[in-house]
Symmetry: C2
């Protein structure tokens, strides 16, 4: 049975040097490093760390599985997730699934093979409960009771939007946007909006299609073709709000004079571009940091952590009227 | 000297099973996997792959070092880089430096320790030439002749912008924006713009400050306080163009009637928001794919690859007038 002492003896170096080479920490001259590795190989020495990694699959990598980084909401979320991981000396593997279930599954498998310490995942597909005891945090979606989950308070967002529109004189509400193929926490926006509209005694139409991100305009055109009257809308995202305002403008209808619109997400982090949307701002930075916090907690203690719902914020913007 | 046969014998499995466990490929029952790993440990067997990895530091990871993913230009670039890496079965480690040199250096060291196969890097700081033979591709910046480099044709962009403004009646040109602490390929935008203005016989003012990304408005306000007349501007980014138009609008000056503006980057991938900027569109997707192509080329053959300049595209938008 070979020991680290024999490696050090064969390489002609001290024990500390062998340890630094094997742990890849601290400075070692390249020629010395090569000597140590040659001795490791010749003696067939298994450093404890290698054996431990093989057995426990521990790395300082965390996988982030998201629909696409090429989108203002997800790029901001990924920014803060990476920033928070960095503070704890973890590195982030970025996986863009383009919302395709087969890519989500393939990435999941790749990340397991890469022996990541954990995964933060955003999937709006029918992702099957994985047979894995890897620590996992999902955002916007409950995939399995075994995984921890972080969301914005989508229900509160839907309620605030209905109240804001009715306070401003709207009587024919509309919820417009895209729906996921499977139920997600995001559905709470619509459900709470419809419920609050009913409570406040106004009508509410729901128009949804299942489309990919950034495919807002075809949905808007299909909706407008049906000529359904509305005077106040909540959309499933800010991009839907902006697309609705543009399409209505082309029909000669001005926002907020002829109709009022509230978006969802809060993607405008500058106000250089118009319209400045009224919106339900998701607490993106808090969601990101919380996801990392509970993931790292679970990595260190598999029984730790609990689901977290974080409150949202209403921003009035320029696409709704002042309160009557 | 222990062999794979002894591992297989002790674990009570076939050679193929041991190989699958050690290479983490193909299906192995978890209980079998644990038996094999126990035998590996008990016999202090060094699988060839582990020794090879220790020696050659080969992984399927590529590091992407960028200022921030929370920015439309870099999020689009990162999207296509990751997509292209995925096609070749590489995984991407995302590193947001927040434009700080010390973070750039720390990430670079972390990536080396993580034994990445290569790095794609965007730094506008005075990054020292690393003592490393890691394959590296830089974008927008030549850090070392040893690294391969990809840029948009910034010079052509600057020329096209000057020509477009003069064709539309501008006689007092302005280049406005942020400058890096050190020379980069991005400076060619300004240099070519100024040179072309001179060739065309019109005046040209340059106003630059060294600021972080998304800090456009203070620069604009400092510039406007100087009351320098201009009738056509090229800005160093689209965000600067939009900020300039907003600030001028607040002074009662309308774009494009009172002054014309061309941005740089092409970040508007929808036209839901106004103004729709005239801009020099960077070939972001091509730059991303080319960076990956030459990086993977260099990983496989250290002498391969050459610097690449990719042409840009002029987009007329709504912030310049029709040609006179």
């Amino acid at each position: 049975m070979q020991t680290i002492k024999e490696v050090a003896k064969m390489a002609g170096v001290g024990l500390g040097t062998v340890s630094r080479v094997l742990n890849d920490s601290g400075y070692v001259k390249e020629s010395t490093r090569q000597k140590v590795l040659a001795a490791v190989e010749a003696l067939h020495y298994v450093p404890n760390d290698v054996a431990r990694n093989l057995r426990h699959q521990s790395t300082r990598f965390v996988g982030l599985i998201i629909p696409t980084i090429w989108h203002p909401f997800f790029s901001k979320l990924a920014y803060f997730i990476e920033q928070e991981l960095y503070l704890s000396d973890y590195k982030m593997l970025l996986c863009n699934t383009e919302q395709a279930l087969d890519k989500e599954l393939r990435y999941f498998e790749m990340l397991q093979k890469s022996q990541v310490a954990g995964i933060i995942m955003i999937s709006y597909n029918d992702f099957p409960e994985p047979q894995s005891d890897l620590p996992i945090v999902t955002i916007d979606r409950i995939i399995s009771p075994r995984f921890l989950h972080v969301s914005a308070d989508n229900s509160h967002g839907g309620e605030l939007a209905a109240e804001a529109l009715v306070q401003r004189g709207c009587r024919k509400l509309l919820f417009l946007g895209s729906a996921s193929p499977v139920p997600t926490e995001v559905d709470n926006r619509r459900e709470a909006f419809v419920r609050k509209a009913r409570e406040l005694g106004v009508s509410c139409t729901v128009y949804e299609e299942t489309v990919l991100l950034k495919q807002e305009m075809p949905v808007i055109q299909n909706f407008l073709a049906q000529d359904i009257p509305f005077d106040g809308a909540l959309t499933s995202s800010d991009l839907f709000a902006a697309a609705l305002i543009k399409a209505m403008g082309e029909k000669g209808r001005a926002c907020p004079d002829d109709f009022q619109v509230i978006g969802f997400d809060g993607i405008q982090d500058n106000h250089y571009f118009k319209p400045i949307l009224a919106t339900i701002r998701q607490p993106v930075e808090k969601m990101a940091r919380k996801s990392v916090e509970i993931l790292l907690g679970k990595i260190n203690n598999p029984t730790s952590g609990e689901d977290t719902i974080i409150d949202i914020e209403f921003f009035a913007g320029e696409t709704i009227k002042p309160i009557i």
